[in-house]
């Protein structure tokens, strides 16, 4: 493996900040900023008791980040409660996904984790009611192009993103965690059936711990875009750290992954979390998922690709192969989303017809 970037070395061992000079701090904060991990860096240094050793310049930036992140968290909680209020009376179980779930459930992964969109999961049969209720409370669809509307409604696992007309916050309403057209289709009924209510937030729920890990893994490793790849890997690292201490979690995880057809993304999560972040995974669990991974030359290739794409998206972390690696994973991500003919049609439409329409409108 290449020499790890400074940020990754600090994520593995916060004490690595000791002895950093001005240029070192400068680089660390820029990498954290580019990776969307600046607020997490603050949490990490604070937990390690290292904050008072930070020189004045970078310390000021970390305090700016603290303020910005607190404001962000306040606004996000408010937004989640507005969504719950909007859906009150529909008797739809409201399951939060990703960042909103970590924050509202008070998970370790939610501390210092910023999120711009709020993701929720509702039953597919109730989508129309949910959409109508959100519209009545000020959320409007953001994609006005007819093709985009059809793309989401027919093929995707979510409604076109909605944005609040006054507050500008976005909500993604999901009915599944992978597109209708994807090669694997984790059963949304099973995910919802295992959901856990959040004790302190009546009316809100999260996925079960194993499902949260699997959703995070599929979101990271089946997607085509890795601009927040390291942030997502840190999510996995922290979820595994917290849930891994709960009895029975590790034993059930591989079986649950196979039940949801998500053995491959779990394999990747349990490979790259330890390799990049030093996550502790019991050897028996790694052995149990070994057969779900690629083998031989393909594994060698995926290592080369992921271990580039998962680094911070910052000029200081890129080698000559970084661009091609990200492009290859982008193609792969689309490949996993749609069958080839449909994908070709979609890319053709995006490349020529949407562009043409946009230039006509401009």
């Amino acid at each position: 493996m290449m020499r790890l970037p400074l940020l990754v070395r600090v994520l593995r061992d916060p004490a690595a900040v000791r002895g950093l000079d001005g240029v070192g701090w400068d680089l660390l904060l820029r990498q954290a900023d580019a990776a969307n991990l600046d607020a997490f860096l603050l949490v990490l240094l604070e937990d390690a008791g290292l904050l008072d050793a930070v020189p004045a310049g970078p310390r000021a930036h970390l305090e700016w980040t603290r303020t910005g992140a607190a404001g962000h968290a306040r606004a996000a909680r408010y937004e989640v409660r507005q969504i719950r209020k909007a859906l009150d009376g529909l008797d739809v179980p409201l399951i939060l996904l990703k960042g909103a779930a970590y924050a509202l459930a008070g998970l370790d992964a939610g501390r210092g984790r910023l999120f711009s969109d709020i993701d929720i999961l509702v039953p597919k049969a109730r989508l129309a009611e949910v959409e109508a209720a959100l519209m009545m409370h000020g959320w409007i669809t953001t994609h006005h192009d007819e093709y985009d509307q059809r793309y989401y409604r027919q093929w995707m696992h979510e409604l076109p993103p909605m944005q609040h007309a006054r507050r500008g916050n976005s909500i993604d309403v999901h009915h599944a965690i992978l597109p209708e057209t994807a090669r694997v289709r984790p059963d949304p009924d099973s995910l919802r059936a295992c959901a856990r209510p959040i004790a302190a937030e009546p009316g809100l729920a999260t996925l079960a711990p194993a499902d949260m890990v699997l959703h995070s893994a599929v979101h990271l490793f089946f997607d085509g875009e890795f601009d927040k790849g390291l942030r997502d890997l840190v999510d996995l690292h922290r979820l595994l750290g917290e849930f891994g201490a709960q009895p029975g979690f590790w034993d059930a995880l591989p079986a649950r992954a196979r039940e949801l057809q998500l053995g491959r993304p779990l394999f990747y999560a349990l490979r790259y979390c330890p390799r990049l972040l030093g996550t502790v995974v019991p050897p028996a669990v790694r052995a149990a998922v070994a057969l779900d991974g690629p083998r031989g030359p393909l594994l060698w290739l995926m290592d080369r690709l992921f271990e580039r794409a998962l680094l911070p998206l910052h000029p200081s972390c890129a080698d000559a192969f970084n661009g091609p690696a990200r492009f290859a994973l982008y193609v792969r991500g689309n490949w996993l989303r749609m069958p080839p003919l449909l994908l070709a049609q979609h890319l053709f439409h995006k490349a020529f017809i949407t562009k043409h329409n946009e230039s006509q409108a401009a």
Binding site: D21, R30, G57, E63, W64, A70, G71, L313
Partner: protein, 305 residues
């Protein structure tokens, strides 16, 4: 102390095209890299008196302004802004490179520096009394600021008032004053000594020229000021001069509306703004004649309204 003006043009260009020029503005260090001549011209003229920080230290903001490559290098060339590798804004015509530097430096502060309550307002000081001029564009805030700078006022900022969160003192960020459209000729006539950058036409804000900040204001950038007044100015053709007290509750709400990060700061922003309003008299101010305005502001500096 090394200043931009003490570098030769060749040294300035070498820094800008190499590791970057680390320009100190108030509490912030900005690392600027560029190969764009109109931007270099603007920096050389407007920032001659500013300190240059040594290499190898911690830098607050990283700004790159690079000229288009390929065919665009020669035909309708543009300037591309990158913040440490990300591109938050569309490119602009090459001639707008210097105003773009000013706008993006403002953006860095207003989007990141949450150690201050940041108000969209000019702020000046005389005899130890600072006056804040919050105002939407078009109210004549910058024209008034540029005029006052010729009458012994110290510039803290033309665009962003930084209120310290703990003790409500005002932290200077003296930078060039942005003049738009007819203001440019008004200030040329009112202050023949003023140093202005070359006017840039057809920007999204119309024609823009910047006025160089007074050397003394730049030298005193580390010296905070105590707030005395908040004055909401409004220029109106032919209007009689009028300074009317404004209820503090209304001043509070209007300053909050003119703040970049009041919402982000939450309770700390509320407390800081409360201390600022407590320490200040608030007025609305209507004027048409700059000479009359100068006399009235002199009375405010003396502590009488």
């Amino acid at each position: 102390m090394l200043t931009v003006g003490s570098l030769s043009r060749a040294e300035l260009e070498a820094r800008l095209s190499g590791a970057g020029l680390v320009l100190r503005t108030g509490p912030f260090a900005n690392r600027i890299r560029s190969d764009v001549q109109p931007l270099i011209d603007g920096v050389a003229l407007m920032y001659a008196d500013y300190p240059v920080d040594p290499e190898g230290g911690f830098v607050d903001f990283h700004l790159d302004f690079l000229r288009s490559g390929g065919l665009r290098r020669w035909v309708r060339s543009q300037v591309h802004f990158a913040y440490d590798g990300t591109t938050p804004f569309q490119p602009l015509p090459l001639g707008q490179a210097y105003p773009m530097l000013e706008w993006t430096m403002n953006w860095c502060v207003s989007h990141r520096a949450h150690g201050y309550l940041i108000i969209h307002a000019a702020v000046l000081e005389k005899h130890g009394r600072a006056i804040i001029l919050p105002a939407p564009p078009g109210s004549g805030k910058s024209t008034l600021t540029a005029a006052l700078l010729g009458h012994g006022w110290r510039l803290l900022s033309d665009e962003m008032t930084l209120v310290h969160l703990d003790d409500a003192v005002l932290v200077p960020l003296p930078r060039p004053v942005s003049l738009k459209n007819t203001s440019i000729d008004i200030i040329r006539a009112f202050r023949p000594d003023a140093v202005l950058s070359r006017p840039v036409e057809e920007t999204t804000k119309g024609t823009i020229a910047h006025l160089k900040a007074p050397r003394d204001s730049i030298a005193r950038a580390a010296e905070p000021a105590r707030p005395a007044c908040i004055v909401f100015p409004r220029w109106e053709a032919g209007a009689a001069i009028a300074l009317d007290p404004m209820p503090k509750a209304r001043a509070f709400m209007q300053v909050a509306d003119n703040s970049f990060n009041y919402q982000v700061l939450g309770a700390r922003g509320f407390a800081a703004l409360g201390r600022l309003i407590d320490a200040s008299d608030a007025y609305t101010f209507r004027y048409s004649n700059l000479h009359e305005a100068m006399a009235l502001f002199e009375r405010l500096a003396q502590g009488a309204a």
